[in-house]
Symmetry: C2
Subunit: 223 residues, 2 copies
DNA sequence: GTCTATAATTTGATAGAC
DNA sequence: GTCTATCAAATTATAGAC
């Protein structure tokens, strides 16, 4: 063999990693196979020994990106649900995330292109995303709330990135962050967060939150 | 002249309208000039008598789309802020909107590509969007809240469209809708909505809402 | 003002040498 | 397994006829 063992797998990982960065920065449709392979240090001819087509790469790319995102969640050091969520809000809704799409979440960067992808890709995507939703659901105590949070975060990064100046970008980001923080503190106010037996658990049991009507204010932080 | 007067302007409008539909459906990068012009009933050669480049079309397209969206808002028949917002939530967060990107809002469909566009396009876009934000701010009584609502709505449509089946799409949509409806009813609960002198006005003055802490529950509706 | 025709690149993908 | 070379098709944009 001309190439050391494990070379192929290594290059495949590099195609996924470097390709992910490139595609999140430029968009999938705007990223040619040449640029994809060059970013990974191979030529376009070698590409097709790794993936059957450019679309096949997209599928693997999306799965890889969602897995990476979940690994980041797993690295969140906080135990209490409230702190855990707060940490993720700060990390996700940051100017760094706005300014560096290639290093960030795949959803705001490629969401529209995922939506336009074929059945097979969307199925694989949905399967991976469901795992993430489950994690978020465990922390927030409600699947609907998890979806709402995710949509808000994705929409905020997407919209902030469309803004032409950093000041407005920051304003967009902060608006969504405060909105979600308010929702959190509303729930935390009169539920069992931080109480015995709930360490590392959810922010609040939904049924309880509904029954007690445990919300307080919509904009808790001063600017 | 071989073509009747007003023909050019008419074709330009058609390029913007048909082009908008095509681009929102397929994405801008994936839409060739040939397809763009064919959709408007002209050949690719004529395209450049209307627009200096494909990117120039994108700019005009985005402005046109945002204007159209604001015209839809203007057609909202409700006077009270609460009803007005509720009507827009139902319209925007609908399965019809999820399933027909070409007929819908430009933000979930092209947001990522707008974010990647050049300064000039983003400036023109931001100027138009600001008008929309202003309308929303007048209804919601707070600019931050307006941004948060917009981000949630855009994110919800984007995420719903990525889902592979209608059932999940509906669930995503409903999650965000309930989340926003809850925020509305929290504010409406202890503010001056519907009271004398506030007809057609905002949902609540922010300062008042902050001071009184006029929120109640995060998930007001049963499933 | 729009048409046909075409230029110049770039695209996704394949074939064969090593 | 990856390289170079190359294909056919599609891309954005222009030139000249009418």
């Amino acid at each position: 063999m001309r190439y050391p063992p494990g070379h192929k797998e290594e290059k495949r990982k590099e195609l996924l990693k470097a390709g992910g960065t490139l595609v999140k920065n430029r968009g999938f449709a705007a990223s040619g196979v040449d640029a994809l392979t060059e970013a990974a240090g191979v030529t376009s001819g070698a590409f097709y020994s790794h993936f059957a087509s450019k679309n096949d790469l997209l599928k693997a790319l999306i799965e890889n990106e969602l897995q990476t995102s979940r690994e980041m969640w797993a690295g969140n050091p906080h135990e209490s649900a409230e702190d855990w969520i707060g940490y993720e809000l700060d990390r996700y809704l940051s100017m760094s995330h706005v300014r560096h799409p290639g290093a960030g979440c795949v959803l705001p960067a490629l969401g529209a292109e995922i939506a336009r992808a074929g059945e097979e890709i969307r199925q694989a995507y949905a399967k991976e995303l469901a795992k993430g939703i489950e994690v978020l659901t465990q922390r927030l105590g409600d699947k609907e709330l998890a979806w709402a949070f995710l949509c808000q975060m994705v929409g905020a990064i997407l919209m902030a990135r469309t803004m032409p100046d950093q000041k407005t970008q920051r304003a967009v980001l902060e608006s969504s962050k405060r909105f979600l923080q308010a929702a959190i503190s509303q729930m935390a106010g009169k539920t069992n967060v931080g109480q015995p037996g709930n360490a590392g658990g959810t922010i609040g049991n939904t049924r309880a939150a509904r029954a007690t009507g445990a919300a307080r204010k919509i904009v808790p932080h001063a600017k």
